[in-house]
Homo-oligomer: 183 residues x 2
DNA sequence: CAGACAACCGGACCGCCGGTCCGCATAGCC
DNA sequence: GGCTATGCGGACCGGCGGTCCGGTTGTCTG
C-alpha cells in the first residue's frame, strides 16, 4: 500500500467517526464521509469495499482492546476465570463499549442489516459468549442464548435504557438479566 | 372511504404478501407492490403513508388473532393463568407467528428500523411481556427483559435457528431460554 | 336520471443513496 | 529524470422512498 493510500484510509476512518459523533448514524452517507475526509467517493469504496466494510472496520478498531483482553489471562475477562464471571465481565465491558460508541453501534447495525451474522467482530463475540454459556448452563441452546445476550446491545435498546438511567442503569440491567439467565 | 379505495387497500396488502412470499423481504419495493396490485404508486402512499406504515399494518393484521387471545380468558394465554405460564404460552405463540410470517417479520424489521419501538404491535407486545415479567420476576428490569425476550424473534435469528431445526427447535430454544430466565 | 362535487387515482418527477468506472495524477523505484 | 504500477476523483448509474397534480370516478342530491 502506497503512503498516500494509508493516509487516506486513516482520514476516512477519522472523518466517519467525526460525522457519527456530530450527526448521528442516520445522516452519515458515504458522500459525506468522502467529502469530510477530503477524498473522492471512489477512494472510500476502494479502501473499504462498501458501506458495510467501512463500519465493520471501524467497529473492529474500537473493539480491538476488548478482543485482546478476552484472550489474555489476568483479569476476570481472560481465560482462567470461571465462565460465569468471565461472561458477566464480558457483558459489562460490552456495555461500556456500547455506551462510548453508541452512534457507531447504530451505524454498524444498519450497515450489516443483511447478514449481520457475517460481521467478523460479531462472530468473535458470539463464539466467545457461546462457549461461556455452554460451560455455565449446559442445558441451554448456547448459540441461541449467545445471540440473545448480544442482542441486549442493540443500539436502539441501549440508547433507550441510557436515556433513562445512563450507563449505570444499562450495566445493572444487563447484569441482572444475565444473572437471572445463568441462575 | 370510497368503495374503490377499500378495494385498492386490500389489493395492496395482498400484493405485498404475495411478493414477500415469492421473493424475500429485500426485494419488495413499493413500486413492485404497486405494480403487482395493479395500482399507482401514489395510491400505496395515500393508503399507508409510507413503507413503514404498510408493513406495520400487515403485521397488525397477522397479529390480530394473538392480540385478541391475550385479552380473552380461557387459554394459558389469557388473563387468569399464572404469569409464568402466560408468558411461556405467549412466547410460544410468537414463535409460531414468526415461523408462519418470516418474510413479513424481516420486512417489518427493516421498515421500522428507525424508531422500532414506535410500532403499535411491538408496543402492545412489549407492554404485555413487561407486565408478565414484572409479576414473575420482580427483581428484574422488566421493560429491559421484555425487549430482550422480544428480540428473540429477530427475523435473522429465527431464520437461522429454523434452518437448523425448524420450528420445533425454535420453540424449544425460546422456551428453554425463557424458563432459565424466569428461574 | 343528470349534474356536480369531493374523493381518489396514476405515474411522472424529485433528491438521495450505495456502488461503478475510467481517464488522469503521482509515489516509489531504477 | 524517467517509467510504471498504484491510487485517485468525481461523473455517472440504477433504484429507492416519497411527492404532486391534472385527470377520473364514485357517490350524493334534486
Amino acid at each position: 500500500m502506497r503512503a498516500d493510500a494509508t493516509r487516506n484510509r486513516e482520514a476516512i476512518l477519522r472523518a466517519a467517526e467525526e460525522l457519527l459523533a456530530a450527526h448521528g448514524a442516520e445522516h452519515v452517507s458515504l458522500d459525506r464521509v468522502a467529502a469530510a475526509a477530503g477524498v473522492g467517493k471512489g477512494t472510500v469504496f476502494r479502501r473499504f469495499g462498501s458501506r458495510t466494510g467501512l463500519f465493520q472496520e471501524l467497529l473492529a478498531e474500537r473493539a480491538e482492546a476488548l478482543a485482546r483482553a478476552i484472550d489474555t489471562a489476568g483479569s476476570p475477562l481472560g481465560p482462567g476465570s470461571p465462565p460465569r464471571a468471565r461472561l458477566l465481565a464480558f457483558l459489562d465491558e460490552l456495555a461500556g463499549l456500547a455506551e462510548r460508541n453508541l452512534a457507531l453501534f447504530a451505524a454498524h447495525e444498519r450497515a450489516c442489516a443483511d447478514d449481520k451474522y457475517a460481521d467478523p467482530t460479531y462472530v468473535r463475540w458470539h463464539g466467545h459468549v457461546t462457549a461461556l454459556v455452554g460451560e455455565a448452563r449446559p442445558d441451554l441452546d448456547a448459540s441461541f442464548a449467545a445471540h440473545a445476550l448480544l442482542g441486549l446491545f442493540d443500539a436502539d435498546l441501549v440508547g433507550r435504557v441510557m436515556a433513562e438511567g445512563g450507563v449505570t442503569r444499562l450495566r445493572s440491567s444487563v447484569r441482572g438479566f444475565a444473572e437471572a439467565l445463568l441462575g
